[in-house]
């Protein structure tokens, strides 16, 4: 094992602009999810549980929080002397420098990093999906099928095929054609954005693609179609189980609610496939005499004096007496003061909801923060580090972000 069998590369460079203020200071993979986790915990834990020990995280946009969150990689058992986690932003080479231009270009720019490990296989992952998957089994299939590349696919409802990259395969699972967001799909097998490549093959394709002036340098649009065109053996690896792209506010909210409504689908209590995360180091949570908690998930450091229903609370959330929180997601350190009522709200780090605030899906109307471009269904989002004025009323579909103090925002503070 002097050479490294497989290197995983997580594409975490996108700005995640559809998540609005949630990614204003954070790369998307660092966004909190599911009471105890960050989105990237799922991919990192999958790597660790699959026995993959060398993981590069390709960042570009706001990598700092992700960098400090991943740190030495210890929470995922990825603090290896050989291998481990590496944050890979674009860098300056002799004479020139480039930001990452597309998924394929991002890998192209890290050929040197990959070559240092001399791997047989490279696993390309995306940092913004919620799922549990054993990549070792996928690799076994890849090797058995003598594939040049293997793409993980899952069945999606026929009505949604037009949102995905769709694989058409023969009976043996070999991919015959690939259609990016087809209007009339011939199959409902959608690409999960999880690829295993033989490294020499991918290296050649990346170099070739880099020369192509017309290419978008994207795996789905460019690399895969070209490989199919020249007749390479691309295999589809079928995945069944919970999988969710949390790229939009509504999908992020839904995936959080799935933890409550469909706990067995993603099953966070599976001790043979733990999802690891960096621990906040807080005491057990406290449920006071006055509290009422139902259909909810919470974790260490919460202090609950009010009513919480069908909500996901992250560590160190305080719900004061008389406050009511429903169908909401409250990120670490959020305080909801007495008398406040939240419905279908997503509140980012440490924001303080003032007394008697009313916000969310049950409040109709519009305000200066109404954002129907990114929000729907009444979901209301608060930026991190805000103090919301007592008694403020905030209608659904609002994206509350600091500009200057106004009738809704009293002040902001550093988180």
């Amino acid at each position: 094992m002097a050479r490294t069998e497989i290197v995983a590369l997580i594409l975490a460079g996108g700005q995640g602009s559809r998540l609005g203020v949630l990614t204003k200071y954070l790369a998307k993979p660092a966004v909190p999810f599911g009471s105890r986790y960050r989105i990237v915990d799922f991919t990192l834990s999958n790597c660790s549980n699959s026995g993959i020990e060398t993981v590069g995280v390709l960042t570009q946009y706001q990598p700092l929080a992700l960098n400090t969150y991943i740190g030495n990689g210890h929470p995922w058992d990825l603090d290896r002397n050989k291998g481990g986690t590496y944050i890979l932003p674009p860098y300056q080479k002799t004479g020139h420098s480039d930001w990452y231009k597309g998924t394929a270009n991002a890998i192209y720019q890290n050929i040197e990093f990959i070559e240092d490990w001399d791997p047989r296989y490279v696993l390309i992952l995306s940092g913004d999906h919620i799922y549990k998957m054993d990549y070792a089994k996928m690799l076994e299939t890849h090797i058995r099928q003598k594939a040049d590349a293997t793409i993980a696919v899952l069945e999606v409802p026929w009505s949604e095929t037009s949102r995905f990259g769709i694989m058409n395969t023969d009976k043996q699972g070999r991919i015959t054609t690939f259609e990016e967001k087809p209007k009339q799909a011939k199959s409902n097998l959608a690409s999960m954005g999880v690829y295993i490549f033989n490294w020499p093959v991918l290296r050649a394709e990346l170099s070739c693609d880099e020369e192509d002036k017309d290419s978008d340098h994207d795996f789905g649009k460019d690399i895969i179609p070209k490989m199919l065109q020249v007749g390479m053996n691309l295999q589809a690896y079928r995945f069944s189980g919970y999988w969710k792209d949390v790229g939009t506010i509504s999908s992020l909210w839904e995936a959080n609610m799935d933890i409550l409504d469909r706990p067995h689908d993603i099953n966070l209590r599976d001790r043979d496939w733990r999802i690891y995360s960096r621990n906040p180091v807080k005491p057990s949570h406290f449920i006071a005499d006055s509290a009422e908690v139902s259909n909810s998930a919470m974790t260490d450091g919460c202090n609950i004096f009010g009513t919480v229903d069908h909500s996901v609370l992250f560590n160190s959330v305080t719900i004061e007496k008389g406050a009511v929180v429903r169908d909401s997601v409250l990120m670490p350190g959020v305080t909801v003061a007495s008398g406040a009522v939240l419905n279908k709200c997503i509140v980012s780090f440490a924001t303080v909801i003032g007394q008697d605030v009313r916000a969310g899906a049950d409040i109709t109307g519009r305000c200066q923060y109404t954002n129907e471009h990114l929000l729907s269904g009444g979901i209301t989002v608060f930026e991190r580090g805000l103090k919301i004025r007592d008694k403020a009323v905030i209608p659904g579909n609002s994206m509350v972000t600091y500009n200057e103090p106004d009738e809704i925002i009293e002040t902001r503070f550093r988180v």
């Binding site: 733990r274 057990s284 406290f286 005499d289 139902s294 998930a297 974790t299 260490d300």
Partner: protein, 370 residues
């Protein structure tokens, strides 16, 4: 940051036994406060003081302690030069059963030789508080004492208080009484002392030369006539665990707002082994109140005035009152528990009723199926 001191924790105490809870493990390794083992508090105090070298003397039943401490990484003590050293008794002969001897103190001497800090903070593991030692070490240095000892005013509070200190106006220890029937003072040793490493090495070498193999805080205090011992008061929240009763009442104290704030929210984190449990899920018909609940639980029944450790399942129609339920214990439907301590991995079958008294809680050992 740059504290010139190292730590030494005594995982066992000859006089302290917690019945069923002590059976499978050392005192230091007894689960406490939902997510912790007792030792976590003292270890965190040392780490929060900036110590990067801590030894733990374990004499027996150290397996769960070893498992808990692991490489020391949870306390950021997985140092290149062994931040955390478990010091079990070293067996120096070929086969213990062939009459080999156990040599506790020579391992200890090696530890002190390998870790060169000026001072050593030696602590029993039965006291729970949250503080750093930086100021105490500085005051010890100023005092010119051979040994400094920490105490608080708990002397009147407990029936079996340990070492009561007679202290003069300048803070020098003039008298030490062990478990006196009628305390002469309320100053009660916390079992935490500070001593220069070189001085300690001399004292231990002397002990070894005398054939004395019993290393304890109390033995140092006993020498108050020949050594200059300085007493320093600790005024914040302190819990003493001397018995099943004090273990139970200390846990219940954590439900008190002030105690909880002082122990957990003063800004100094209490580190423990990370378990990567799922978040706790509350069902639609649970009733939880005035309780501390850890990660990974499933709560569908009624829980009040209780402490739930990680991974506890409370089924529907179960009622838990004034109780301590340890890790991964399963409470079936219709169970009724009051004033009960359940150790790890118990299963309480449907409809079972266990009721103890506040002063005499029912204690069920590890792994029991009731």
């Amino acid at each position: 940051m740059f504290i010139n001191a190292m730590g030494l924790i005594l995982a066992d105490h000859k006089r302290i036994q917690l019945g069923e809870l002590s059976r499978p493990r050392a005192l230091a390794a007894i689960p406490f406060a939902g997510r912790y083992r007792i030792i976590d508090f003292m270890l965190s105090n040392m780490v929060n003081s900036g110590m990067t070298s801590v030894g733990v003397i374990a004499l027996h039943k150290y397996k769960s302690l070893m498992d808990h401490l692991g490489t020391g990484s949870s306390w950021d003590l997985d140092r290149k030069n062994k931040g955390l050293s478990l010091l079990p008794p070293y067996i120096n002969s070929v086969n213990i059963n062939d009459g080999g001897e156990i040599d506790d103190l020579s391992g200890l001497l090696d530890f002190f030789r390998a870790n060169r800090r000026r001072y050593v903070v030696i602590a029993n593991s039965n006291v729970v508080f949250n503080a750093t030692f930086n100021d105490f070490v500085a005051r010890h240095e100023e005092s010119g004492a051979d040994i400094s000892v920490l105490y608080n005013r708990d002397g009147m509070k407990y029936g079996s208080p340990g070492a009561i200190l007679g202290v003069d106006r300048k803070g020098w220890v003039k008298d030490v009484l062990f478990n006196p029937p009628k305390p002469v003072s309320s100053r009660c040793s916390m079992g935490v002392i500070i001593i220069e490493r070189e001085r300690l090495l001399d004292l231990v070498n002397e002990d070894v030369a005398r054939g004395e193999h019993d290393f304890s805080v109390e033995n140092f205090l006993r020498r108050y006539v020949e050594l200059k011992i300085f007493a320093m008061e600790y005024k914040e929240v302190l819990l003493r665990i001397n018995s099943i009763q004090t273990y139970f009442s200390s846990t219940m104290d954590l439900l008190d707002e002030r105690t909880r704030q002082d122990l957990f929210w003063s800004g100094l984190p209490v580190f423990t082994k990370v378990k990567d449990e799922a978040p706790t899920l509350y069902g639609s018909k649970n009733r939880a109140e005035n309780s501390l609940i850890s990660d990974g639980c499933l709560i569908n029944g009624a829980v009040s005035n209780s402490m739930l450790f990680r991974g506890v399942t409370v089924s529907a129609h179960a009622t838990i009152k004034n109780s301590i339920i340890m890790q991964d214990t399963y409470i079936s439907e219709g169970v009724v528990l009051e004033n009960v301590i359940l150790d790890k991995n118990c299963v309480i079958r449907p409809g079972i009723k266990l009721v103890g008294q506040k002063e005499f809680p029912v204690v069920i050992g590890k792994g029991a199926i009731v």
